[in-house]
Symmetry: C2
Subunit: 263 residues, 2 copies
């Protein structure tokens, strides 16, 4: 089955003309999962010709704006385009109030069911499953309650090969506590906001360096590492890539529009 | 003194790759006023090389998402870039709660003072003035409480010429009740979401046609009309322009990045 990831945003907090903040699109057996939804995500979906009415599940890691300020616009566009099928939204419970208040202010009653699944980011939890895939949330180490997500093929698909998996870890300080949740993942996305020369800043802001992301990848025994959430200070990303590869050679950069096949 | 308008967004509700939803930037004597702030506005400011820390006053006409979903991202970027100077925000009082809830969810205390001025859109009201300019709000006819804005040079500047003015009317159904507020304006922006063949749809959605916008401009005796808030259904905007010019020849289209000198 298809199992691929498209990067929609690779930057950290401040959008630039070249890099959008966080959003990923996972295609698992032609089911489309949207993971985080920064401002501008709906345009990124258009830009990369992803038919956004096919998205049925949205996962928001935490309530910093660079991970969800595009959500209201995206939901409103689905509404205006006459969507009928339900959307399942997995996020911190405070998001429900933020959405409700904005819908009320615009006197909008969505024309599709929006089904809210609150996440509590305290332990690993199965949050969604169907016959092909299971999705787990698990806690990250950040300045606000933040969830990582693990998407894993079900064992039923194991006959031909070992189940593939994708883990999404953004934003987080370096934390070995996440190792059990991401152990052996086929593709790990781990934020790498800074170069390691800024390790103190990273720690202070509950972010990671490229070296730390690679170290987590190595310790978790993942197959491939994707780094992103780059500080806007870096125009040239190759030093971040070089730094990560010095520890974990199977590292690639998050580049907007790039599709990564998960093997 | 400088008195010019830059269009940052010309589309109605749904952003496309070619047109952003509503946002305008008025430069009045090198003071920058941001009028509406749809999703993506901060990127439009970057694209057109407008130094956004120079903006001190933000006016939000109403709480439909295509007029304010870029506000939180813009404020957050100002915050992250270390702004100190205050921002004055003029909007429906419900916006304050929407902002506060999102700041609380992200545990953010803005590093600059955000001074909220509630607008009640019931009558013409002087909402801001300094030695060069006065700003008034006035009610429009829309499906939610909506303000138009009038920016007018002060009489003190009248020695050399008659005071120039800019009126912003988006979104509104055709309404002659607004004529007294915009009478004789140097530049009138009036929404023109549809061609007149869709007048019934326009009325139902509390929007205007290009013909109606032009009719208002003619009746108000304005000098120039700028039309915008175009439905995403129109790739080619020339029929909208032609329709408006048939009634009011001094009409121009809102085109993103275009700067209109107000004379």
């Amino acid at each position: 089955m298809t199992f691929s990831l498209t990067v929609l945003g690779s930057n950290s907090a401040i959008p630039t003309l070249h890099r959008n903040p966080s959003a990923h699109l996972l295609n698992a057996n032609e089911r489309l999962f949207l993971i985080d939804c920064a401002e501008g995500t709906q345009l990124q979906l258009r830009r990369f010709r992803i038919h956004f009415q096919r998205i049925k599940h949205i996962f928001i890691s935490h309530l910093h704006g660079d991970h969800f300020y595009g959500l209201m616009g995206f939901l409103t566009s689905l509404h205006l385009l006459g969507r009928h099928e339900e959307i399942h939204l997995y996020a911190n419970p405070e998001l429900q109030q933020i959405i409700d208040l904005q819908l009320a202010a615009s006197r909008t009653q969505l024309v599709f069911p929006l089904i809210f699944h609150p996440l509590f980011s305290s332990d690993k939890e199965l949050i969604m499953e169907d016959e092909k895939i299971q999705v787990f949330s698990f806690p990250l180490l950040h300045s606000v309650p933040t969830c990582g997500f693990l998407f894993r093929e079900r064992k039923a698909a194991r006959n031909l090969r070992s189940p593939r998996s994708y883990a999404y870890c953004s934003d987080t300080a370096y934390s070995e506590a996440i190792l059990p949740f991401i152990n052996g993942t086929s593709l790990l996305y781990h934020e790498a906001t800074f170069l390691h020369e800024m390790a103190a800043t990273a720690r202070e802001k509950f972010h990671s360096t490229a070296l730390e992301a690679a170290s987590i990848a190595a310790k978790a025994g993942v197959k491939k590492l994707l780094i992103g959430h780059f500080s806007a200070r870096y125009d040239d990303l190759s030093p971040l890539l070089d730094e990560a590869r010095s520890v974990f050679p199977e590292t690639i950069l998050a580049v907007e529009g790039d599709k990564v096949d998960i093997a």
